[in-house]
Symmetry: C2
Subunit: 359 residues, 2 copies
Amino acid sequence: MPDDESEPLTPRGSEPGHRMTARITIRDVAALAGVSVTTASRALNDVGRMTEATRERVRAAAGQLGYRPNSMARGLVRRRSFTLGLLTTDTYGRFTLPIAAGLATGMVDRGVSVFLCAGENDPERTRLNLQAMEEKCVDGLIVAGKRIDRALPIEVPQQNVPVIYVNAACPPGAVGFVPDDLGGARAAVTHLVEVGRRRIAHLTGPREFAATGVRAQGWQEVLHEHGLAPFGHAMFGDWSEDFGYRTAQAMFGPDSPAERPDAFFCGNDQIARGVIDGLTLLGLRVPQDVSVVGYDNWEIFAKATRPPLTTVDMGLFDLGQTAGHAMLDMIDGKAVEPGIVRTPCRLVVRDSSVPLPEK
Amino acid sequence: MPDDESEPLTPRGSEPGHRMTARITIRDVAALAGVSVTTASRALNDVGRMTEATRERVRAAAGQLGYRPNSMARGLVRRRSFTLGLLTTDTYGRFTLPIAAGLATGMVDRGVSVFLCAGENDPERTRLNLQAMEEKCVDGLIVAGKRIDRALPIEVPQQNVPVIYVNAACPPGAVGFVPDDLGGARAAVTHLVEVGRRRIAHLTGPREFAATGVRAQGWQEVLHEHGLAPFGHAMFGDWSEDFGYRTAQAMFGPDSPAERPDAFFCGNDQIARGVIDGLTLLGLRVPQDVSVVGYDNWEIFAKATRPPLTTVDMGLFDLGQTAGHAMLDMIDGKAVEPGIVRTPCRLVVRDSSVPLPEK
DNA sequence: CTGAAAGCGCTTACAG
DNA sequence: CTGAAAGCGCTTACAG
């Protein structure tokens, strides 16, 4: 019965390749349920009023046939593709990957899929990607970067589509999400103070990064609030292990000044790792002699240091998810406050900072 | 003139949010060029025969209006969405990320976009992802894993869509791509032999990984071909720094056997890093006393070791790109040989293995 | 060489 | 409560 439809005009099954078997359409479902296509559509979308029996019959038919709505057809009429584009130049993936995973995971629960656009820092490719997103009619665009003070080299020309910036500079009036670096730094330094450290040095990335300034500020704030002085100035270097290594060796080596820190708060996990390696090679013990705290919770680093590293997790997975939900709101026309939202960071305590005995 | 169309029946601009301005359609282009929609379509797609002047006029109109074809509409009739789904459980991203970047980059040049499905190892999410891909009518599915001997916990039920497995086990009769581990290992060991090493040990991951067996085989083969004996048995441990560190310390520490290797070929960069750290802490010099070669060319590790690490690059970016092009062929109905294709690895020489003086 | 018309698989006023 | 019909933006036989 359900299969006695007249043959479709375009030949099915004649397409190239694979064992093609005609896709189940809503007409098949309607036929099997003995209702019109209109009713089938309404039943499946849970709209309109009808007897529960009818609705249930349609659902059963859909289930039995393994019906999957064709989202291209639906998108065409609803003017919604249920897709998002994720644009990034961070091929490295350190920051973008957890964001992307959080975004995609959060979206699939809402029936929305995410296009991955790997920018590759190539302007021509970026243009191609943007064009592809326009043709695919994405409902929104997420632009993800690797530093909060730089806009991506991406001119978003789409005027019909909401845009959210993540972990990147965001134009005035736009909406953006970045990790709360001040809070993260404060949590790290507060922890060091609480475990009894008093001479806390700060080693971080280049001064040009907005994040380094903010984190240094958090370091100073917390120390002042506890009546402590920062140990020297914040030291701006680069994000490398080598910087941490060299600095630790210089501060604790044979010719180093008498005044030495009892803790390092580092701007990322690589620097922290270099510090630990440098100290270890000089025979110092972490954390007994010196506590070390990193930033990023990049587990492959943080868990492999000897000892494992206490560090700040920026919650990038959640950040991606949060941005996705905000995007859904924008798409639905709900008002979303423009401006930058700072999402929480959390301290992950491991062995490199374990509390000293209280007395 | 181009704008004197009668108002569309569905109100435009009344959708939620953003400054909506009606999207340019092929009708607009046709109107501006003074041709029928049929002709406009043919001109834009470079099909059919018409005077070059007409074609050019249509192109100009499209350019002037900034026309972008709606790929949902096109997909509906062509039964092609020009999208691919990338399924993975590797949230970690170490392997999948370069593959994804290569795939997406290669595809955008051909007008194909890639959906990112983060499996999260959650079967229910995987099911949702698969369902989403089916509704989105992807033209193909790429299933990417992190080890070549494990199938993903993904039952691909789609019968209408070609599937390619990347860096994962692949069912009989399917097509898969994996890095050529034998070749990679051979390149690494050949290099060590060529720089004068004779007692080459092999430290690698767990025995259960197919990759470790293949790489160990490459190690043995090359040594035999040069009339050398392997230095002991291949040592199977885990993929961690700690394993390399402990082993190096055991083999070179105070109570170690007299017979010592002059080189380590390691199954990944983390092990290699542990080896280097262990040796360094014992006062040995890399590469003067012992050469070390890693595997993966995970730059964040390979470049940060002291000294920088010679290692095998699996060419995952290219692997992703290659898989994508194969997928396009399958979609086009071209015959693609089933079975596993091994894609080339290449040795990246840095300082941890520099040649000894010949004599 | 060019165009009117049908149709892809849905949704949604509109009319019973 | 239910259905026939129009339409989303394209492509493609079919007919001049």
